[in-house]
């Protein structure tokens, strides 16, 4: 969103309606803001009533310009600053309030009630569906999530939400235990929807969303045991991202898909394909830990462990906050793959110390427990 959406001139008309605040969730000094406004995924967007410091609207995930316009209009209305004379739907407002408070189970139920009475043509319909899907998935109601997605896709297949709805639904269907009787039909129906989006004109879809859709589709082929089909999807995914990156007019726009691309190349077993773009990104953004951290992943995949450690050194010199844990974990694994268990253990001890020193808003107890477990002597 930062490279493409917030720079769009169409948003100019919104500029005077809000006070705009961006919070880098990885910075230690922002832990207090996260304590007030907890997040489960990044990015998460909020509209906040400043009088009571109360969240009136929350949206999880990236948004396209038209989606953001809708979020802003709904948010302004919920904060009592609506200007189109439309009143908030009471059931939707109730669902939004649970969702804003992070009560996903209650939010899911309230969104389903709101959706029942809502016209499919309502300007808030797509946002309500997407929030319902996130709330259902987060509260592990995967069967309902897949069913809601399947129903909503018919109405949203030509909207910017098409990719997210089909992909989220398929993710939920794939997460179902194989013993659930409805699983096969839900997976098959939603895979067809995903395929329809990928084979269609993709008008108005965010590249991030299309990319995520390829990833989900490849997982579906994998779960179906179709190795050739999976490789074909991964190839299409990589080619799609290469075309989109080539369209970028600035280094930021070109590098915006580095993370997706290296994920696709690693899945294809072709990590070397990512080296030139990552070297270019490291030159363009010399203070950014991401390019060398991704180079470490690529070199590890190529079994070039010394190059991987050198890239990891450069990443660690620039890293801060919770992301450093990921970089240290990869580094420990590189040492393991080199056969140097002592060095791996030392890095894991460093990671644990780093995790324990992070503010509690930036690291979970589960993460700390996992790091401790890795340091236990083998039984």
């Amino acid at each position: 969103m930062r490279a493409f959406v917030f720079t769009d001139k169409a948003l100019g008309r919104q500029a005077g309606r809000f006070v705009w605040l961006s919070i880098n969730t990885e910075k230690r000094e922002n832990a207090a803001v996260l304590a007030k406004y907890p997040i489960q995924a990044s990015p998460t967007l909020f509209v906040i009533d400043p009088a009571a410091e109360k969240v009136v609207l929350k949206y999880v995930g990236g948004a396209t310009v038209p989606q953001l316009q809708r979020i802003l209009d709904d948010g302004a209305r919920a904060a009592g600053h609506g200007r189109d004379g439309r009143k908030s739907d009471e059931l939707l407002a109730k669902a939004d309030a649970f969702y804003a408070a992070g009560q996903n189970k209650e939010a899911a139920e309230a969104y389903r009630a709101a959706l029942k009475g809502m016209a499919r043509s309502s300007p808030s319909y797509a946002r309500a569906v997407e929030s319902a899907l996130f709330a259902l998935s987060s509260s592990r109601q995967h069967e309902t999530c897949a069913a809601v997605a399947k129903d909503a896709f018919e109405h949203l297949k030509s909207s910017p939400s098409a990719a997210n709805v089909a992909g989220s639904g398929l993710d939920c269907a794939l997460a179902l235990d194989k013993t659930v009787p409805s699983r096969a039909a839900l997976v098959s129906d939603l895979a067809r929807d995903v395929s329809e989006v990928l084979r269609g004109p993709r008008t108005g879809l965010a590249v991030d969303d299309v990319s995520a859709l390829y990833q989900t589709f490849a997982e579906e082929r994998d779960a179906a045991g179709d190795a050739a089909g999976k490789t074909k999807i991964l190839e299409e995914w990589a080619a799609y991202l290469e075309v989109e990156a080539a369209k970028g007019k600035t280094p930021e726009a070109r590098a915006a898909f580095d993370a997706h691309r290296i994920t696709a190349y690693l899945a294809l077993g072709q990590p070397e394909r990512g080296i030139p773009m990552l070297e270019a990104s490291e030159r363009d953004f010399p203070d950014d830990y991401n390019p060398p951290a991704r180079l470490a992943l690529a070199y590890r995949g190529m079994k070039k462990y010394d190059e991987a450690l050198a890239a990891s050194d450069r990443a660690l010199a620039r890293a801060y906050g919770p992301r450093k844990l990921v970089i240290l974990n990869v580094r420990a694994d590189i040492h393991d793959k080199k056969g140097d268990a002592a060095a791996a253990r030392k890095v894991r001890e460093e990671a644990l110390a780093w995790a324990e020193a992070l503010p509690k808003e930036q690291v979970s107890e589960r993460q700390i427990a996992a790091l401790k477990k890795q340091l236990e002597p083998p039984k």
Partner: protein, 52 residues
């Protein structure tokens, strides 16, 4: 994306700012944004993001 959120946490990319934002974002200063919003009687739009 939903249950791939964790996977995409590693994948969703944005490398720095382009410096051409149409919206006048205040970076990493909640007290300043709160004071301004109260003074101007406007809601706050908050974007939480991670640099990976």
């Amino acid at each position: 994306m939903l249950s791939t959120a964790a996977i995409l946490a590693a994948a969703l990319a944005s490398t720095g700012l382009s410096g051409k934002e149409v919206l006048p974002f205040i970076a990493d200063d909640y007290p300043k944004a709160l004071a301004l919003a109260r003074a101007e009687g406007k809601p706050i739009f908050l974007e939480t993001w991670a640099p990976w």
